[in-house]
């Protein structure tokens, strides 16, 4: 299916396949496996444990995703499946699969830069181009590839995206912020 699904067989493979069919309701072009939300699928005495990790703390999609996982797994009816939430290590956009980044771009969303951020403390990130905004900020327009883009607002249609505008094709677009 895709590169991030481990090479396994039998029931475990079926579970991964089912999870691969669940999409993020706010970014329907990529699955929760490709987003890095599914951390592991493990056997236990009388069934399976699926570990997932939340993306943004307040993301309204989190509960929908959990419900979707349950119904996807119910369809293939494996043995009892327990879903547990794992907070650490915290989710990062670096876990988004390369193939999914391509599809984000096709959906008009500029994919996040790598190098999510844990170490640096950019408190009071500098104004202007130095902070990756303004002309030359380096975020490529997902439509025409131009680097002449400008930040419009740090929060876009969802908390995980910022709004940008392209100075060449003049279209606005979403940028999936590094997390």
């Amino acid at each position: 299916m895709n590169a991030v699904v481990p090479q396994v067989a039998g029931a475990e493979a079926a579970i991964w396949r089912a999870l691969g069919s669940v999409v993020d309701p706010e970014i329907p072009s990529i699955s929760i496996v490709e987003l890095g939300i599914v951390r592991s699928v493990e056997a236990e005495a009388d069934g399976w444990v699926v570990s997932i990790t939340p993306t943004y703390s307040g993301c309204p999609a989190t509960r929908v995703i959990e419900a979707d996982i349950r119904s996807a797994l119910a369809e293939i009816a494996p043995a009892r499946v327990r879903i547990v939430t794992r907070l650490a290590p915290a989710w990062t956009t670096d876990w988004i699969a390369p193939e999914a980044r391509r599809r984000l771009r096709e959906a008009g969303i500029a994919p996040p830069r790598y190098g999510s951020t844990d170490t640096a403390v950019p408190v009071r990130v500098l104004h202007g181009a130095a902070a990756g905004r303004g002309p030359g900020g380096g975020i490529a327009c997902p439509r025409c590839g131009s680097l002449r883009t400008t930040l419009v607002a740090q929060f876009g249609s969802t908390a995980c995206k910022a709004q940008y505008r392209c100075a060449d094709c003049l279209e606005p677009f979403d940028y999936f912020k590094p997390y």
Binding site: S57, C59, P60, D118, G156
Partner: protein, 272 residues
Amino acid sequence: MPDPMADATPDPIPDDRQLFDYVLRLADNGVVLAQRLGEWVGRGPALEEDIALTNVGLDLLGQGRMWLAYAHEVETRYAPPGRGEDDLAFLRDGGEFLSLLLVEQPNGNYADTMARQFLFDQWHVLLLGALSGSKDERIAAIAAKARKEVRYHVERSADWVVRLGDGTDLSHRRMQDAIDALWMYTGEMFAVDAIERDLGAAGIAADAASLREPWRSSVAAVLAEATLAMPVDGWMQGMNGRGGKQGVHTEHFGHMLAEMQIVARSHPGAQW
């Protein structure tokens, strides 16, 4: 006279009641500030701002929920079954909320809202950085996650301080007035009481006093860029164990809470 600071006895082992209070402080800052930001919904000065305020509020509410869920587990250990997330948010009275005085201050004009956000965000990002190393694994995990979100909050609020401070005469005056008016609520962020001291000695709580200098230098840099004057420290509200962290709030708090809790209190047990 003996030195009151001298360590005569070893630090007591912090108990779950202290931990519960500390986690509630973290939770309530998020819940209360999210409620304030929610008051802007539909009234933002521009669509992008309306959306941004809501998204910041949503992050804070999500973090608040993670803290409340942990508070529930801690309370369950000594007073089972403990109060759940909704009960803690909607059925506590004002005196049981342990949020900072700063976050309950009214929205005022846009400069007031962004100044409040900026002064809090600069502290919040430092606090969460320190808590990422807490010996309490749950606190460390939530803090590490929340910090990723708060980095964006502080970037945005600092931008607004600069934009309004270094803007027109009117926007400059409003931002300066806002910073000046809120300054007396900033001291509480760095005031360490017995709970924080005991939990800090156990490696669980952050040393709030140690955040003061980094906070001051970050704030000073932004205010300088914004052509604003850094206020002189004067009388600080909420110090000496008589502030929001101990449940003593300003007159604004009850009004805010009434609006926040009315649905849950009018329809006990309702599901939504």
